[in-house]
């Protein structure tokens, strides 16, 4: 075996390492639940503020700057306004589902955070199937979206919801395959173990293709531009939540940005090393990484036009799915070839493979002809 040992086999850690946080005390659950709910709400407010402010800066505007210092209380004011607004129920709406939809949309977002570590062991539940939990629970939001689109009794909403279902079902596959690469490298499904496995090298260095696929697929799953077809302000006029108002609309808004927090956290945890980092306290490192991912998401939103629905599907099935599969296979082979630890020269090899695969994929990638004869 040549080269230094750069990844750590996670299995090594299962027994001895003492967590930084007393995870087994009875009050741990209570405290952490409160922390998580507060964390998510605060993060969502910060994210909305950043989104509005940064996208304004990108678009040569100033953004909200009147309410409070630097306009930071604008979202709180907006939330208060939404709380006081009348909730309108459309005549054609299926009221029960119409009311349930925002809750179904928002609740899973909080639940996902149960498995995200803020520090070694500092997480609500160190599930040994953490990633599976994230994917399974994260997808429930989609049902909320579809319930909203269906029950609104509005054609625009229905179209938006249909697009959402199609997009999420398609993008789940490349995203899961990209995550599988990480799992194979770390040798564990627990997010905490995956972070520990990135002690020396974050997985973005080892798995550039996986990162790219997760980022793009993640953007599509949480309907961020350029894949925001379900909302599409210029086409569907907000898509599935066209008919919502007041607090129910605010729930969707929270859910949407909550999903963004989840996706940023997931990317930061799985690929950027989570709470690992020198000097600063671990939770701060995690926050910094979350905000970096968020900034890139805002940046793409500010720049790129929207893709069409068939192009969205084509991208998932014809471009990302084969690439994710190849990525997984290559990762598996590498892990099998060097079962103890990966040598340093794997990094340039992986980057080269990424470039070649992306170029080849783009070369072979053909979009369907857009026009349908009717």
């Amino acid at each position: 075996m040549v080269g230094p040992n750069i990844t750590v086999d996670a299995l090594r850690h299962l027994a001895p390492v003492a967590p930084d946080w007393p995870g087994n005390e009875w009050w741990h659950w209570l405290v952490f639940t409160v922390i998580l709910i507060v964390f998510i709400l605060v993060m969502v407010i910060i994210f909305i503020y950043l989104e509005r402010r940064i996208i304004a800066w990108f678009a040569a505007r100033i953004g909200p700057n009147r309410t409070g210092p630097f306009g930071f209380f604008q979202n709180i004011a907006a939330a208060l306004k939404l709380l006081l607004k009348e909730g309108v129920n459309p005549t054609n709406a299926d009221i029960l589902i119409f009311w349930l939809a925002p809750i179904v949309n928002f609740a899973p977002v909080i639940a996902v955070f149960a498995v995200v570590p803020f520090q070694n062991g500092a997480l609500l539940a160190d599930l040994n199937v953490g990633i599976l939990f994230v994917i399974a629970i994260g997808s429930i939001s989609t049902i909320g979206v579809f319930m909203a689109g269906w029950s609104s009794g509005n054609k625009y909403s229905m179209l938006g919801a249909m697009r959402m279902i199609a997009a999420v079902v398609s993008y789940e596959i490349p995203v899961v395959l990209a995550l599988a690469g990480v799992v194979v490298l770390a040798g564990s499904l627990s997010l905490n173990d995956i972070v520990i496995a990135q002690e020396r090298v974050p997985f973005i260095v080892l798995q550039p293709l996986g990162f790219l696929l997760l980022f793009v697929g993640g953007c599509a799953e949480i309907n961020r531009s350029p894949f925001d077809l379900m909302e599409a302000d210029s086409e569907l006029v907000a898509g599935f939540h066209t008919e919502y108002s007041g607090i129910k609309w605010a729930m969707f808004f929270l859910g949407e940005f909550g999903e963004m927090v989840v996706m940023s956290t997931l990317i930061a945890t799985l690929f950027l090393g989570g709470w690992q980092g020198p000097g600063l306290p671990p939770w701060l490192w995690l926050l910094i990484k979350i905000f970096i991912v968020d900034f890139i998401m805002i940046w793409t939103r500010a720049t790129l036009p929207r893709v069409r629905i068939d192009q969205l599907m084509a991208l998932a099935w014809k471009f990302m799915f084969p690439l994710a599969l190849v990525n997984l296979i290559i990762t598996a082979i590498q892990v099998l070839a060097w079962p103890d630890a990966l040598p340093l020269y794997v990094i340039p090899i992986n980057w080269a493979i990424t470039v070649v695969l992306v170029l080849l994929g783009s070369k072979l990638f053909k979009l369907g002809w857009g026009r349908v004869e009717v």
Partner: protein, 160 residues
């Protein structure tokens, strides 16, 4: 059809937005900061020089909207006295044709832009509302007013 050039176009676009993120913003925060408007501003009000006006009512005839209401009586020296001179600025389209038509240079557009009122009735200007003594006239079609007014603030002259 395929994705051409492997994302180079996307990368180029990202650099442009990043460059604009760092650029100085041109927005003027209105109630606190105000730009100096053009000298020829056609404010939605008229300014009237009582001395010069002869009551010929050319302005009323020219007005495409017919918002100028003018009533005159014959005075002692065989001149017209302007009895009523009313402009309903609610219907005025600020075209400035009345100012151009005035043969005696007695009518001016107003150099003002904050003219919102609470009631429609307040939009009807009577002759006393329009006197040139109380209001700043704009240089629209009246180049002689030019020197009284500050120079317009142009965006192109601002620092980036």
């Amino acid at each position: 059809m395929k994705f051409e050039r492997y994302g180079i176009g996307i990368a180029k676009g990202m650099t442009v937005t990043m460059r604009n993120l760092l650029r100085r913003r041109i927005t003027t925060q209105y109630p606190e900061q105000k730009l100096t408007v053009s000298r020829r501003t056609r404010g939605n009000e008229l300014v009237w020089n009582k001395e010069k006006c002869t009551g010929c009512a050319t302005c009323a005839k020219t007005c495409p909207q017919g918002v100028i209401h003018i009533v005159t009586s014959v005075g002692e020296e065989n001149n017209y006295n302007v009895e009523v001179f009313e402009v309903d600025t609610g219907y005025c389209i600020s075209c400035g044709l009345c100012v151009e038509a005035c043969p005696y240079d007695a009518l001016f557009m107003a150099y003002a832009f904050e003219l919102a009122k609470y009631r429609r009735s307040e939009l009807v200007l009577s002759r006393d509302d329009m006197l040139i003594e109380n209001k700043q006239a704009s240089a629209y079609f009246r180049p002689e007013v030019d020197k009284d007014l500050p120079e317009q603030e142009l965006l192109i002259n601002r620092k980036e």
